[in-house]
């Protein structure tokens, strides 16, 4: 019997409200209506998944019939609920393409257009409006950006199914895959200190059960099919631009995504993501920015000392030599502590064969070790110090190169390898010269000497060049970089202006003052302030390097 208030039991002194509170608390209805078996759920969606595993050279893929995706977004919630994800987490999302071209007549003979077996008539009318919902999850790429980037071997592409799996226990939480995946698929989970992503519910598929999103879609718009990877490399999906999954998405050539989007009609060229103009700054990655600038400053100082050491007094040489490993140690500590799983930091070298991040880690560690050696050699006055210094310099520059390639391979236009190498290289020069001039001034050196003059003028030229290089993006006509420009001119304009001021003060004003006075307290002040401004400016520039990066992505929705 369900909760019933028995008003005759007035023997106890409970007031009526206590009885109602008791009735509310009574959960006997659960026993009354509970069922110990649900029939008809398992096996219900099995016609939407393949009966067999892919053959050699084939893989599973998501197969989306866009005509059947009407935007109910049940797939998003089904993924969330049936996978036990965190409160705001789902491995699927749904975006919207809008556009307004009247379409050309459909050419039904075109081979890549597949007619959908919809109940509706298959005689499409001209489409005056595009209002296309796009459900998206991991594209289980043939050449996955996440896997290629991962330094910790926390990804694997299943040799049988082609499913790209994230190995949660192997993940160190460096978040690098969130930059190398062009589809924003891996998402960092702060609580766990790792990223997580869709695995096509591979355990379900293994048991012949449909993935959660497939189960969730009322219209059977999502299914799993088998595709030849060679075919995928050859041909992309039937949208306007065959090099993109859908308008607005990244160039498919980057990773060769496997998802197929089908539609009865081509999308008009005017179709664009509804959120195309909503550009918000990216993550600042402060620890990475600090690590990069500090490690590059250390390399800069070392190389400056190694190359220009002839002009240094002994004490200047010694201080510089000791500073280099100290700064490098700080950079390494920061980079380890920024990991979601710092105790697993050692895994970061495992991906050496394919990951520039692993290579960066190895090179930076090597640089640190050698720089300690350089310092010891300098202190001890070893005769082999020149050799050690040279080796340290080479490894230091390799480190900077690896750092640059970490971002260079992301495929983002603003992070083109040439662009990043130039910027990182100039950071090395600016910070190295600024650091060296500060060491000199602190030990009482005179700047009005040929050596001091060339040092400060070199600094001035390097900083001005860096500012010019950074500024050059504002003249871009590249569509993707224009998004960066928009950010730099709006949301990030204040930061960018501060960066310009810091660079100008530290790299132009301070060196000129130091040159003018030559030595004494003012020269010391100018050199120290110059170093601080140059480093602060570089930190801000590096933060903008991350924040202003706006990569193409799958269509989003109104926010």
């Amino acid at each position: 019997m369900a909760a019933t208030v028995n008003e005759s039991s007035e023997a106890d002194a409970a007031t009526p409200i206590d009885m109602y509170l008791a009735a509310q608390a009574d959960m006997s209805s659960v026993d009354r209506f509970s069922r110990l078996e649900v029939s008809g759920r398992t096996g219900k969606w099995t016609d939407l998944i393949p009966l067999t595993n892919p053959a050699e050279g084939e893989q599973f893929r998501f197969d989306v019939d866009l005509d059947l995706c009407t935007g109910c977004k049940a797939c998003v919630t089904a993924c969330h609920s049936l996978n036990g994800l965190d409160e705001s987490e789902s491995f699927r999302s749904v975006g919207l393409l809008v556009g307004s071209d009247v379409l050309p007549k459909v050419d039904l003979a075109e081979p890549i257009l597949e007619l959908s077996a919809v109940g509706a008539k298959l005689t499409p009318q001209p489409e005056p409006v595009v209002n296309q919902l796009v459900t998206t999850a991991c594209h289980h790429c043939v050449d996955p950006g996440c896997l290629n980037g991962c330094p910790a071997k926390a990804y694997e592409k299943d040799p049988t199914t082609g499913i790209v799996k994230h190995l949660d226990d192997a993940c160190i939480g460096c978040e690098y895959c969130t930059m190398t995946c062009p589809y924003e698929v891996p998402v960092y989970n702060k609580r766990l200190g790792i990223v997580r992503k869709c695995d096509m519910c591979s355990d379900r598929l293994a048991e012949g059960e449909a993935p959660a999103c497939v189960q969730g879609c009322p219209n059977s718009a999502i299914s799993i099919s088998i595709v030849s990877t060679a075919e995928l490399r050859k041909q992309q999906t039937p949208t306007v631009d065959t090099k993109r999954l859908v308008p607005g998405a990244a160039d498919s050539a980057l990773t060769t995504p496997s998802t197929r989007y089908r539609r009865r009609q081509k999308l008009p060229e005017a179709a664009q993501p509804v959120d195309v103009n909503t550009i918000s700054p990216g993550h600042g990655h402060t620890p990475l920015a600090v690590m990069l600038v500090l490690s590059q400053a250390a390399v800069g100082l070392h190389v400056a000392r190694a190359v220009g050491g002839f002009g240094l007094a002994d004490n200047q040489n010694l201080i510089s030599a000791v500073l280099v490993p100290a700064v490098t140690a700080i950079a390494i500590a920061i980079s380890v502590l920024h990991l979601g799983q710092p105790l697993k930091a050692w895994r970061a070298v495992l991906g050496f064969k394919h990951s520039w991040l692993s290579r960066e880690v190895v090179a930076l560690s090597g640089f640190f070790g050698l720089s300690v050696g350089s310092a010891v050699a300098a202190v001890q006055g070893w005769s082999s110090s020149t050799l050690i210094d040279a080796a340290t310099s080479v490894v230091g520059l390799v480190t900077v190169g690896c750092s640059a390639m970490v971002y260079g391979v992301s495929g983002r236009r603003w992070w083109r390898p040439k662009n990043v190498i130039t910027k990182f290289g100039l950071t090395v020069v600016c910070t190295g010269l600024a650091a060296l001039s500060t060491v000199m001034s602190l030990t009482g050196a005179e700047f009005r000497s040929p050596y001091g003059f060339s040092l400060l003028i070199g600094l001035l030229i390097a900083v001005v060049t860096k500012l010019v290089v950074e500024h050059s993006v504002l003249r871009t006509d590249d569509a993707e970089e224009l998004r960066t420009v928009q950010l730099l001119k709006t949301t990030l304009a204040a930061r960018y202006n501060v960066r310009l001021v810091l660079g100008s003060v530290g790299g132009i004003l301070c060196p000129l003052v130091a040159l003018a006075v030559g030595s004494g307290p003012i020269a010391v002040f100018a050199a120290v302030a110059g170093l601080e401004c140059v480093v602060a400016g570089e930190l801000l520039a590096r933060s903008l390097f991350f924040k202003a990066s706006s990569a193409p992505t799958m269509p989003g929705s109104m926010r």
């Binding site: 509310q24 209805s29 659960v30 209506f33 109940g119 209002n131 949660d168 200190g193 103009n277 926010r559």
Partner: protein, 732 residues
């Protein structure tokens, strides 16, 4: 666990993969997360919209921890929209009302005990009534609570407390269909069953964005195996129109011209089912005369459609073997909604498209228990679909309830708008709002807020203390929500479904039923409700009252039977049995209607102009509607789910044709000010040819929208005409 941030940053779970481990459920749910492993399920009809999907609530140690849609249930067969999947999240919100809250002398709402709250309620309502007359206290209720609770509220207020005026938010959604059906069929009787979506060869959707508003009904349209013609009649090119085979983007509120013109076209080509009309209807000849005044040219001119479009639709209806017509808020929320709905009914009648599989003039309802409210809320109609004005009906109901028939008012309540304007005239001084959010949803919001502030006593009974209405209350009563209580809903196709208590309510929140019981005690009319001991007792009383009515469900034994049979559609009189064939039943297969003579009526009227046409100062027509499937009405519940919130726009936007946007010089996502004679708001522009030039669209879920809307009402249903007002848009 330590709170030291460095330590907690270092020591994250070493084996996070465990969190995503799944097990194969031994009870047939497939693979489910280890963290959500269920020992059993209970079934419950969803508490959002009127589709009435069944959800399997995954139970662990006596509490619901997860949801998946019920396979095998005749309505949704294993699918649900995101709201259904996320139906537990709103129960866990931080802003749940967990104790009664009373506004203190400093104007702050402070927690008080239930006894203090009940005494305050009774004292202040009685004071309002003694100062200004019993009729000066009114209530506004909802289509969101179970039928048993609605009946209890209606009986308590009207028979126990002497309250005369009460209405529900169903006035904002279904009133038009109710009146249309009553006048045409003799009873508020949507004739269809969802199987009609599967059976039609022509599906005509009018003012209905079914794909977004009712995704699970839309699923059935897409799975129709008869290759149906799908006709969408809507000024907007909606998600539904995008998949239609014919989209008639008519001028807003030109529906009556369209349907009369279509009737004329069909008559001209003799596409009338003469036998059916002759045998089963009244007034066709006069109707045929009436529509002669709607020739093709004129209709094309007034609707903005081409003659080809009109002729093609007439061809489609003529050649269709099983034509079904479906309408939703685009018809109901119009200044001439009742006549428009009846114009649709007329088309179905004259072509004989009623009572057969795949046919019907079918109103798709809004809220989960709109029909429970229509039949049993005791507001416009006397409990059980009876008439307050009829002495026989009053005595019949009084006898069934074992009460004195003199306590039953002799006329229906004022409608929602009359109650609101009654506040303005000072005739209403106290208001009790139950499970609705008037301050957000009522039309012409600036006026509405002024009215609410004018009340002597405002009580809000809700799950949340944070709704736009609750924050204005003098007293907040904390209510348990769907999932925390028992009862029944009646869905769009007349299916009575059971909801099961599967969660402990937070704090001292009580099911509305127990709150009503407690108020009856405190008021001193408890003896009138001695038999109303539990929701299921009330279900039995209502079942008894329904005997002999079209909605007779006296064949339903108890909740168990509803739970086991997959819901039961009315009528289901005593002696009916649940069989495979009884799962999906439509009305009027016997061609007998509920009017006195058993014939359906052709009802029509001259179209009237909209109340506020676009003007030089306000040149755009503002259309409103559902924006996203993840939003429900005023968002009080859906915004509590992070997943649902992530699917929908947080801030207001307005859809605008690129031509209008270019004329204003605004681009996609640019912020604009939208103003009407009554108020203004800021919103971001979405340029789309989904709206026509001269028209703009805004989703109804944004709280500020109703600052703009114009308080026009259908004269018969008193339903507000949310779908039309004049606005201007300017750059910020």
């Amino acid at each position: 666990m330590t709170k030291n941030p460095i330590v907690s940053a270092l020591f994250k779970p070493m084996h996070p993969s465990k969190e995503l481990d799944r097990v194969t459920s031994p009870i047939g749910l497939g693979q489910i997360p280890v963290s959500k492993e269920a020992d059993s399920i209970v079934r419950s009809v969803c508490g959002f919209c009127s589709t009435g999907c069944s959800l399997d609530l995954h139970m662990k140690d006596g509490e619901a921890i997860n949801i998946s849609p019920s396979p095998g249930y005749p309505v949704n067969t294993g699918s649900a929209c995101p709201k259904g999947w996320e139906a537990l999240a709103p129960l866990e919100a931080d802003d749940r009302a967990t104790t009664p809250l009373l506004r203190d002398s400093l104007g702050t709402l402070r927690p008080v005990s239930w006894n203090v709250a009940l005494n305050e309620f009774v004292d202040r309502v009685k004071k309002v009534q003694s100062d200004h007359g019993a009729e000066s206290m009114a209530f506004l209720s909802t289509g969101q609570i179970p039928t048993e609770e609605m009946a209890m509220l209606g009986a308590l207020t009207k028979f126990g407390m002497g309250i005369k005026h009460g209405d529900g938010n169903t006035r904002q959604c279904m009133a038009t269909s109710v009146v249309a059906y009553k006048q045409s069929f003799g009873f508020d009787a949507p004739p269809y069953t969802y199987a009609d979506f599967d059976e039609s060869d022509v599906i005509v959707l009018i003012g209905s964005n079914l794909a977004i508003a009712h995704p699970i009904m839309w699923e059935r349209v897409l799975k129709n195996r008869h290759n149906p013609e799908i006709v969408v009649i809507d000024p907007r090119h909606t998600e539904t129109a995008a998949v239609a085979t014919q989209h008639l983007g008519l001028a807003p509120d030109s529906d009556l011209d369209l349907f009369y013109g279509l009737a004329q076209l069909l008559i001209e080509r003799d596409a009338v089912d003469r036998d059916f009309v002759e045998a089963n209807t009244e007034g066709f000849a006069d109707f045929a005369n009436h529509v002669k005044r709607f020739p093709l040219d004129q209709v094309a001119d007034r609707t903005g459609l081409t003659k080809d479009q009109l002729v093609r639709l007439a061809d489609t209806i003529e050649s269709g073997q099983r034509v079904s017509f479906w309408w939703t808020m685009g018809v109901n929320q119009s200044h001439q909604g009742v006549r428009t709905a009846q114009a649709i009914i007329n088309l179905a009648l004259m072509t004989g498209n009623i009572g057969r599989p795949g046919t019907g003039a079918n109103s798709v309802t809004g809220q989960c228990n709109a029909m429970g409210s229509r039949l049993f809320s005791n507001t416009t109609g006397l409990l059980g679909g009876y008439d307050f004005a009829s002495l026989d009906d009053r005595e019949h109901v009084a006898k069934k309830l074992e009460i004195d028939s003199d306590v039953i008012p002799q006329e229906p309540s004022w409608s929602y708008d009359q109650i609101m304007s009654g506040i303005g005239t000072g005739e209403i001084k106290g208001l009790w709002v139950i499970a609705t959010n008037t301050a957000h949803s009522w039309i012409d919001q600036m006026d509405c807020h002024g009215l609410l502030d004018k009340l002597d006593f405002l009580v809000v009974q809700d799950m949340y203390h944070s709704t736009e209405t609750a924050v204005r209350a003098d007293l907040v009563l904390p209510a348990a929500g769907w999932g925390e209580k028992e009862g029944t809903f009646i869905n769009s196709e007349r299916r009575i479904g059971h909801i099961t208590k599967a969660r402990t309510a937070p704090g001292e929140a009580l099911a509305d039923f127990w709150i009503f019981k407690a108020i009856a005690d405190a008021w001193g009319c408890a003896e009138m409700f001695e038999r109303w001991r539990s929701p299921e007792d009330v279900f039995r009383i209502l079942r008894d009252i329904s005997i002999g009515q079209p909605c007779d469900f006296s064949g339903v034994e108890d909740y168990q039977m509803l739970d086991e049979s997959g819901g039961v559609q009315w009528p289901f009189p005593a002696g009916s049995t649940v069989t495979a064939d009884s799962a999906e039943r439509r009305l009027f297969a016997d061609q007998t209607f509920y009017t006195k003579n058993g014939r359906a009526n052709f009802i029509y009227e001259e179209p009237t102009p909209v109340a506020e046409p676009a003007s030089d100062d306000y040149p755009l027509t503002l259309l409103t509607g559902r924006g996203s499937v993840a939003d429900w009405h005023t968002r009080t519940r859906t915004e509590k789910s992070t997943v649902l919130s992530s699917m929908t726009a947080k801030d207001a936007y307005i859809e605008m044709h690129p031509v209008d946007a270019a004329a204003l010089g605004v681009e996609l996502n640019e912020e604009v000010v939208v103003s009407s004679l009554r108020g203004e708001l800021t919103a971001r522009v979405v340029t789309t040819t989904g709206v026509q030039p001269g028209q703009v669209f805004m989703p109804m879920h944004f709280a500020e929208l109703n600052r703009l809307t114009f308080p026009a009402f259908d004269p018969y249903s008193r339903q507000p005409a949310y779908k039309h007002c004049a606005v201007a848009v300017r750059k910020t």
